[in-house]
Structure formats: C-alpha cells, structure tokens
C-alpha cells in the first residue's frame, strides 16, 4: 500500500474544492442550527439554488456572468423566504419536514424533461463558467507543490474559495458576538423567553434562515463554477446529511467548526477509500467481499459508523464544550 500517495490525496482533498464547498455550505447550516436552532434538513436545496441561479442566469437568461453570481444568491434568498414565511411561526419540526421535502422537490422538478429548456433536465447546465476562467492565472493542466496537487481550474477556485470562506466566517463571528447574535442564540435556547423580552422571534428566525441560505447559495456558486457544471443529481438529500456530518464533526455552534469539520470529512473519506483500495490490491480484502466500485459505498458506511462513535464518545465534536452540551440534559 502506498501510504505516501494516500496521504497526498487526503491532504489535497482536505484543502480541495469539495472541502471549500462543504465548508461554505456548513457555515450556513451552522448559522441555522448551531446559532438559531433551526432544524434545516434540506440545506443542499440552498446549495442547488446557488448553482442553478448562476447557471440559469448565464445560459438560459443570457445575463452578464457577474450578475449571474447575484442571481444565485437571490435564488437562495427566495428559497429561504418561501420556506420560512409559512413555517417559522410553527414549531421547529415543521421547518425540518418542509426543508427536506422542498430540496428534493426542487431537484426532481429541475431534472424533469418538461423544464429541460430552462434547467437542462437531467443533464443539468454546462458551459456557463468560461467567462470566469478567463481570469484564471493557473493555465497549466496540473499543479503540484509539497503534498498538494490540483488541476489549474481547481487551484483557481481554491485560491478564491478559501479566502471567501474565511471572510464569511469572520463576518459570522462578528455577527454572533453582536446583540443580533445574542437575540438569535436566545431564540435557540428558548423562543418564548425571547418573545417575552420584546424580541420578534419570527423575524429573527427568518433573517437567520435567509442568511444561512444565502451562504449555502454561495457554496452552490463555488461548486457550479468549480465543476463548470450544475448536475441535478448532485443535490440529493444525502448530501445534506454529509453537511450535517461535517458540522457535528467540528462541533455545533462553534465558529471554526464548519471549516475544520469539512476538511476532516473529506480527508477521512479519502483515507478510508485509499486504505480499502490498497487492501484490495494486496488481496487482504477478498473480491467476493467487496469489489472496486463497492469501496465508494463502503467508505460512506464507515463515515456513518464514525459519526455514531463520535456521538457516543465526543458528542460535542472537536471544538464544542462538553460542559455546555450537558447543560441541556438538566
């Protein structure tokens, strides 16, 4: 087994495009659940909104590419409004049901043949990212430095994506230490208490849903441009739960946990994949037990197992405080 190559792949993935997209999306999820206590089980829907927003704006509506970025965010904001206005007056569970359903409804609708002229149907939208790559200084096909290796376009998106992630994180950090953040956290702890103290809980929850949704949309824009395509079947519900996995891994309601959680998530996924393929090639895993393509599925099982163990032995995640977590149990 080539440990060196597994390590290289893992560290490249930890800083790669997938991790950037996950980190950004998870920041949004952290705003929803970690700070406001909103149960959003359809976060991938917001990511899809961002991707389809930018894709459709450029290919379908023929807008200026930079205006397209704005359209991506607007899609996500509208999605948040449509989901939030009717459900946020109700108990938290209703938002959970509506978000998971709406994200899946959206995916099925955009991949329908009827809408193919608008959304590209099941093949999605391609050929919209070219204007952005005109700015790409990394023109070679492959870049390799230290343990990292990336394709030129990927490196371009990463160098834009990570600073953006840091910027958004700092923005959220400032927000959550302001009085606005205090209200939102109070709503997470007890909505009625916040209302009894004169805070319009509904309006703050809606603001939070829109903010987190817009950040999810930004993740979708990074994803769409980074892959130069929007594929409807990327946005399946299981992706939402991978985002949750990354958030819980890092620690819910902590400022740096989306970033570290996403990097670890992708590193671990790559390592398990590499190790299992290595074991297969040496014959340690016989082919009747698991063949090549099945490795990709089994590693997700291992992720599930890892999460279950995490919940048992370190439910607060990496950054969370156990003391704080245990307060709820009183």
């Amino acid at each position: 087994m080539n440990w060196n190559s597994i390590f290289q792949q893992a560290i490249s993935q930890a800083f790669g495009l997938n991790a950037v997209v996950f980190a950004m999306a998870t920041i949004g999820l952290n705003v929803h659940f970690g700070y406001t206590g909103l149960l959003n089980f359809g976060h991938i829907g917001f990511v899809a909104m961002g991707g389809y927003g930018v894709g459709m704006a450029i290919t379908t509506f023929g807008l200026n590419p930079y205006l397209g970025l704005l359209v991506g965010i607007i899609y996500a904001l509208l999605f948040a409004l449509i989901l939030g206005v009717p459900t946020l007056r109700l108990r938290g569970d209703y938002l959970a049901i509506v978000t998971i359903a709406a994200s899946e409804v959206f995916r099925i609708v955009v991949r329908s043949t009827t809408l193919a002229p608008l959304t590209g149907g099941n093949t999605g939208i391609t050929a919209f990212a070219a204007p952005f790559y005109e700015l790409n200084p990394f023109t070679e096909r492959l870049y390799s430095f230290g343990p990292f290796f990336y394709t030129g376009p990927n490196l371009f998106m990463i160098t834009i994506g990570w600073p953006l992630v840091i910027l958004v994180t700092l923005g959220i950090w400032q927000l959550m230490r302001s009085p606005w953040g205090r209200v939102v956290k109070a709503i997470r702890e007890d909505e009625d208490a916040a209302r009894a103290l004169g805070k319009n809980a509904y309006w703050y929850k809606l603001q939070s849903l829109m903010l987190g949704g817009a950040i999810g949309g930004l993740a979708g824009i990074l994803l769409a441009i980074g892959n130069s395509t929007v594929q409807p079947d990327y946005f399946v519900p299981v992706q939402t739960f991978f985002l949750w996995a990354a958030l819980i891994l890092g620690g819910v309601g902590r400022i740096w946990s989306p970033i570290v959680g996403s990097m670890l998530f992708w590193a671990l996924l790559t390592i398990t994949d590499g190790v299992m393929r290595g074991l297969q090639s040496t014959g340690a895993i016989p082919s009747w037990l698991m063949d090549g393509p099945q490795v990709g599925q089994v590693r997700f099982m291992l992720v599930g197992l890892g999460l279950a163990l995490l919940m048992v032995y370190r439910p607060q995640g990496i950054f969370g405080s156990r003391q704080e977590m245990m307060l709820d149990a009183r």
Binding site: G171, R182, V183, K185, D192, R195
Partner: protein, 302 residues
C-alpha cells in the same frame, strides 16, 4: 395587610368581582377562551390598579395561567379586549406587549441555559441598535450603548445577589437563582407592569423571603405587579389586592385580609360540600359500604 401605612389608593373601592379601579393600568373585558368543550377562561371584567401588587389566586385548574397567557399575548382569546395603559392591545403579540412595557416571567423558568448570566441580562434591554442585522457588523454604532446596558445589568445582578455568577452559564444556576435571574432580566426591559407566574414555586423558603423583598422593592419603584400564587401566606404578606379565580371566572376581589374570610373563596378552595364524595367511583364505594353495614345485622339475627 397592606405593608405601608399610607392610605391605599383603593380605599373605598367595593370588594366585588370586576370592580373599577381609580387608576387602572390594565383593563380586561369579556375575555373568553375555550379548549374544546371546556371554558378555561370566562372573565367578565378585571381591572388592575397602577403601582400596586395584585395577586391572582385560585384553586388548581381555575384558569390562572391560561388567563396570564391571554393577557401577555402567548395565547389568543376567543373574544374579549385588553386595554393596557389606555391603549387597546387586543391581539398584540408578546414581543409588542413587552416593548410597550408589559413583561412576564414563567412558572417554569426560562433561563437561556447556554448563554451566560450577563448575556441573559443584556438580552432584556430595549431599543438595542446592535440588534439590527446590518448595524451588527459595525460595532462602532452600538459599543457605547452596549456598555451602558452592561453597567445596568451589573447593577441589577448585584441587587439580586447574582453578581458572582456573572460569567457562568445560566444553566448552572440553581432553581431559585434562575427565578431571581428571570426577575432581574424582566427588569432590564424597564417595564411598567410585571406579570409573575408563580414566582415562588420551587424556591426554597430562605430564598422566598428575598424574592418577596424584591417584589416589594419593585412596587416602591412605581412598577405595577400582577402575580399568580398558591401560597396564601405569601399573598397575605405582599399583595395589596387579590383577585380570585375559580373555574375560569373571577369570583371575588378585595384586600387579602377580606378575601381570606370570604365564604365563596373558601368554598372554591375546599369544595362547596366539604364531605361530599369526589368521584362517581368513590360515591359507589361509599354506598356499597353502607349496604354491607346494613346487611350484616340482618344475617346475624336469628
């Protein structure tokens, strides 16, 4: 007994349900709320005198907490109107009422467990610039205000003997301390009317006394207080006026020493027929016992 010797502003007000007060801060009229077939609240009229401590008492299930929820907007009545400080506030949401100066606490304390005590306090302050989304990014606009709020919060914490817990999570406080925190936090709103839902429930006797002192000190600051309470000793000790509810209706009003003697109130608490059976099953059991007693001599006799 009224604690202060000064003549009560309610002198001369007749002791009857729904009576008008000379300077009411809150007037409720025709308020009804049914849960299915059960009329939980059916209040013809209640008016609350400004600047005094009014107790709302009644046996379990009398509708006190429901009435409280209706007054504070946490539940909407089927009919009826509420006038607060001369303004019709019927149907207002809880946060609007709080902004207008009517603040409530809860029977089961709602301390925000994963915020620390000082953050709990600061949350209560009204009109915070930094609570706007865009302003939140610009501390320049609200840092000064934040400092003022913090100073006020620390003052209150010291008064309520919670200053040493300033930076602890509210979730680590004891039950009594949570009651204190909740009361102090309500004062951060700078209310005119404070509604306390069973402020003494679950508090140890030593702390009860200090809570009572706090409630009295609110009155001396000119804050009106309405509170729900079970403990008649507490009611006698601090309240100026008592409103008694039973089965959703107001059955008596008056000063505490008069209410304690009112036959309607005693009936409501103890039941109109003190020795009557409580349930159908008990009644049948009693009848069966009487029958057995009647039969026995008959079988024994030759």
């Amino acid at each position: 007994m009224p604690v202060d010797a000064a003549p009560s502003p309610l002198a001369g007000v007749p002791y009857e349900p729904g009576v008008d007060k000379p300077d009411p801060i809150l007037i409720v009229e025709g308020m009804r709320k049914a849960f299915g077939g059960l009329m939980a609240v059916d209040v013809h009229k209640v008016s609350i005198q400004r600047g005094l401590i009014t107790a709302l008492i009644g046996p379990n299930g009398a509708g006190k907490t429901t009435f409280f929820n209706l007054l504070t907007g946490f539940d909407q009545p089927d009919s009826g109107s509420t006038i607060f400080d001369g303004q019709d506030v019927s149907g207002f949401s809880p946060f609007r009422l709080a902004k207008m100066g009517m603040v409530r606490t809860f029977q089961l304390t709602k301390s925000l467990t994963r915020l620390n005590v000082i953050e709990n306090m600061k949350l209560g302050a009204k009109g915070q610039v930094g609570e706007g989304f865009l302003q939140a990014f610009l501390p320049f606009f609200w840092k000064g205000q934040e400092r003022e709020i913090e100073a006020r919060a620390e003052d209150l914490l010291a008064r309520f003997r919670l200053a040493h817990m300033r930076d602890e999570y509210a979730g680590t406080l004891s039950g009594g301390q949570r009651k204190l925190l909740e009361m102090a936090r309500a004062l951060m709103v700078e209310p005119d009317l404070v509604m306390l839902d069973e402020p003494m429930a679950g508090v140890n006797p030593a702390l009860t006394q200090s809570l009572l002192e706090h409630v009295k000190s609110l009155r001396s600051q000119g804050i009106t207080i309405v509170f729900v309470e079970h403990d008649m000793d507490v009611v006698r000790d601090i309240s100026d006026w008592v409103v008694v509810m039973s089965e959703g209706r107001v059955i008596a009003e008056g000063p505490p020493e008069v209410i304690g003697q009112d036959p309607d109130v005693i009936d409501a608490y103890l039941g109109a027929h003190h020795d009557a059976p409580l349930t159908v099953a008990q009644e049948e059991q009693q009848l069966a016992q009487i029958e057995v007693q009647l039969d026995e001599p008959g079988t024994d006799a030759p």
